[in-house]
Amino acid sequence: MKRLLVLLLLVASPAWAHDAPYSFLNLRFAPGGTTGILTAHVADLAHELPSVAPESLLAPSRASALAPRLFALLASRLAIVGDGDTLRLSFVSAAPDSERNGIAFTFAAAGPPLPSEVSIEARLFPYDPQHETYVNAYVVDSLRNQDLVDARHPRVAFTTGAAPSFWTVVRRFVAAGVHHIFIGPDHILFVIGLLLLGGSLGRLLKIVTGFTVAHSITLALATLGLVTAPARVIEPLIALSIVFIGIDNLRALRRGAGAPDRRAWLAFLFGFVHGFGFASVLREFGLPSQALGVALFAFNVGVEIGQATIVLATAPLIAWVRSASSSAGRRVAFAGSLVVGVAGLFWFAQRTFGL
């Protein structure tokens, strides 16, 4: 039986002629620009070229002749992004790599010369789900990152240690601020709740300004580590602020036109609480220590842009309804305030009792 097994293994051995499919990506980031060497196994490359024998690619003349075409194919399956910009890869040269049974493609990558943040996505040989690409990133001559990408984990991201440019920080953190407002229904409902009762442009500006000033103060203090507040306290408080706005609106509606409008003060007061919430999100983004002030400012700008968008979309609509029919305006304000209050209650219960 053992002899039989030996025989069968010998017979079957060609089935494993190319068991271990790998490619290798070495990137070098330097102030003068980014360069790289991508080495791919001839068996994988030949798979892309019908009627080409894998071993024939190890001949320098054959490798040189087919290299630009092969590189174009590989480059279309490789995305290197530096500080948000996709680097443009251009072929420089190619040579057989006998140790790795492959072709080594040298290329230049045009983009930010020394990006701070890099992500690489590679699906070089989609036909093979087991294919692995070993990624090494050097900053000048120092090995900064070692990683492995495959079909299940095709993307890696790392920082080079270089200081991010001003515009990179601004772009990233403005986007983060806007994003946070739009993915957070609690902030959106809080702002909408403040607008439901309508009012003149001057009054709305006061409300929005009060909220902005207050949350900017606590956002800055918490981000700089001068004041701390635990999320388990802040998050339920944010929910309660929404409940409060809903209830205050309903009370104002019941009292009628003569009721004092406290919304600017409420926005200012609760703005301090919301600022702590923004700060916890900002910390999760990983603040660049070299550009803390810029990141803080940019995030705040992003929050304001998000907030202004909500105001600009909501306030004219409410004003139009109120001008068309005051009773319709009251009904909209009543129903909206009810929704705001109930949503706030739900979030409070969820954040306090983990429902």
Partner: protein, 263 residues
């Protein structure tokens, strides 16, 4: 005849994936001051290709000699040389490697063929109970390898090093033709494991596929005795598969142990 046909079918139609995984060194004698170059191979039938190093896969990579040296930071991602290390004494050393889990998914029939080929009776039986509804094989596999750099102190190879699946010989496997071994899974004896040994004679080319020269299953106390006659490099291996501890990641978790040495 039936067994012949079945086995032939199993082997020839086996998945075109590499099974065995072993450590290889440039020298198999522990000499103080010499440079021991450590590589890893992956393949079948003791015919393999170099496996590049990656710290992403390493749980443990040590050189167990006079003291335990952590080799994890030594290697460079993608390099075929995993480490270069210099023994401090001539008593012998063991290179230990343990990887984290890598996911693979195989179609049902292919997965069953692979289980049969590797003698993994329990998972095969569990899948057979599901009949035609057996799902694709979703598996996390990990490696648990040792290489013995022979020295004068057999105790360095006869002790366990705490790998998840480990072949622990009773004697220096270079010095005896019948070698008893313990198979330990998570530190405990593993019964019913199929243990196979391959010998590569000095004359055999790296590209030659070698069939196992000895195989046996462990007894109830996790022990097995193999006949290891002949010079050359030896690979002893076994695999154990259990239900995956995290069903979201995979249905099965296999651990592949190997022990390499030269007589």
């Amino acid at each position: 005849m039936y067994r012949f046909c079945l086995l032939a079918l199993l082997v020839i139609s086996a998945p075109a994936s590499a099974h065995e995984y072993w450590l290889s060194t440039n020298t198999w004698r522990c000499v103080p001051g010499d440079s021991v170059v450590v590589r890893a191979m992956v393949g079948t039938g003791f015919r393999g290709e170099l496996k590049p190093y990656t710290p992403k896969r390493v749980v443990r990579f040590t050189f167990e000699g006079t003291r335990s040296l952590d080799l994890l930071p030594v290697g460079v991602n993608g390099e075929s040389v995993w480490a270069r290390v210099t023994p401090a004494d001539a008593l012998g050393a063991v290179v230990c490697y343990e990887s984290n889990g890598t996911f693979i998914e195989l179609p049902p029939a292919e997965f069953d063929r692979y289980l049969a080929l590797e003698g993994l009776a329990a998972p095969l039986a569990a899948r057979a109970r599901l009949g035609a509804s057996a799902p694709p094989g979703r598996e996390l596999y990990r490696r648990s390898c040792k290489a013995w750099i022979r020295g004068s102190d057999a105790a360095r190879i006869t002790r366990a090093y705490g790998l998840p699946l480990e072949l622990v010989p009773d004697v220096d496997p270079c010095s005896s033709t019948r070698v008893g071994m313990r198979v330990l899974y998570e530190g405990k004896p593993l019964a019913g494991a199929l243990v196979r040994a391959w010998r590569r004679p000095a004359s055999a080319a790296e590209s030659d596929s070698i069939g196992p020269s000895s195989s046996a299953r462990t007894d109830a106390s996790g022990r097995v005795t193999l006949s290891l006659s002949g010079e050359g490099r030896w690979l002893v291996s076994t695999v154990h598969m259990v239900r995956s501890p995290d069903p979201k990641l995979a249905d099965w978790q296999s651990t592949w142990a190997s022990l390499t040495f030269r007589r």
